[in-house]
């Protein structure tokens, strides 16, 4: 008797599960093969930012170096003229 009740319960549970699955709403996340064009990360701004950063950084460093060299050389000229 107990065994019969157990078997019937299992069959009932399985049927309920199958029914529930067939009635599931569509998933929220829908997979697609390719990303929609509007969602792809554009390469051009990244490329521009990378090259721009190096160009600006290089020019800025050269300018800073030239300024510091000019200052120190002006100081040397002044000190040497004072020495004379």
């Amino acid at each position: 008797m107990r065994l019969r009740i157990l078997v019937m319960s299992i069959v009932l549970l399985g049927a309920t599960g199958a029914f529930a699955q067939s009635k599931q709403p569509p998933p929220d996340f829908v997979p697609v093969e390719n990303a929609p064009p509007g969602e792809q990360i554009p390469a051009m701004p990244l490329l521009g930012a990378a090259y721009g950063f190096i160009w600006v950084g290089m020019l800025g460093y050269v300018w800073s170096l030239a300024r510091r060299l000019h200052q120190v050389e002006a100081e040397i000229t002044e000190l040497e003229s004072r020495k004379r």
């Binding site: 390469a43 990244l46 990378a50 190096i54 060299l69």
Partner: protein, 219 residues
């Protein structure tokens, strides 16, 4: 500035000006498309970053063990360039990774150790600015540790799992991609040599100013 320096500077500036045309002529890469062209400036920057770290290490060795005080000027010059080229590498890398990997950054061995090397040389510059007397020798010790990090950074991509391209990319590059790369490497190397010499000259001149002030005090 010597004549050779002027020639090198003009050559490097010309090469940098023509670089965008060389890079534009390079083909697209099959999986990464256009964004891989960041490589043409990213990789030479990274090489100069490591070269500057080695230069600082070698000069530190000369300062500490061979007692050459003028080597300190070269350590300072190379350390500053390591920070400059390190910044170029660490900014352009994530810009490339955002598109190629989908993330700005991953904490793998290559990226983490590169960031550590950059921080070592930032620490060096801070130490030299605020460290007071004796900071030259402390800084030289720090730069030696920086140099020891370089081989680890270079081989890390071959031993640890990473998204980063391995070292085998460069020797296996097709000719049409290799030409713009070696062109950019030459331009960056020239620029590195010029900047290193100019920055070392600044340190020589600063030492001269100090000597002149000392001579004035003695009078």
């Amino acid at each position: 500035m010597t004549r050779s320096m002027v020639v090198m500077l003009v050559l490097a500036a010309g090469m940098f000006a023509a670089a965008p045309f060389m890079i534009d002529a390079a083909p697209y890469e099959a999986t990464m498309g256009l964004v891989y062209k960041i490589y043409f400036f990213h990789m030479p920057s990274a090489w100069m970053f490591l070269t500057a770290a080695v230069t600082a290490g070698v000069a530190s060795f000369r300062l500490l063990f061979l007692k050459r005080p003028r080597a300190d000027h070269w350590v300072t010059a190379a350390a500053e360039l390591a920070v400059v080229f390190g910044a170029f590498t660490l900014v352009t890398g994530p810009l490339w990774a955002r598109k190629a990997w989908g993330v700005w950054w991953v904490w793998d061995a290559r990226l983490t150790s590169s960031l550590m090397l950059f921080m070592i040389f930032v620490a060096y510059l801070l130490l030299r600015k605020y460290g007071g007397p004796g900071s030259d020798k402390l800084g030289a010790g720090l730069a030696l540790f920086g140099m020891a990090n370089v081989p680890f950074i270079y081989v890390s991509v071959n031993y640890w799992r990473t998204f980063h391209p391995p070292t085998s990319v460069v020797p296996t590059l097709p000719v049409e991609m290799g030409i713009p790369l070696w062109y950019c490497v030459t331009a960056f190397t020239l620029m590195y040599v010029i900047l290193l010499r100019l920055r070392a000259r600044l340190e020589h001149q600063r030492a001269r100013v100090e000597a002149l002030y000392l001579a004035e005090d003695e009078l």
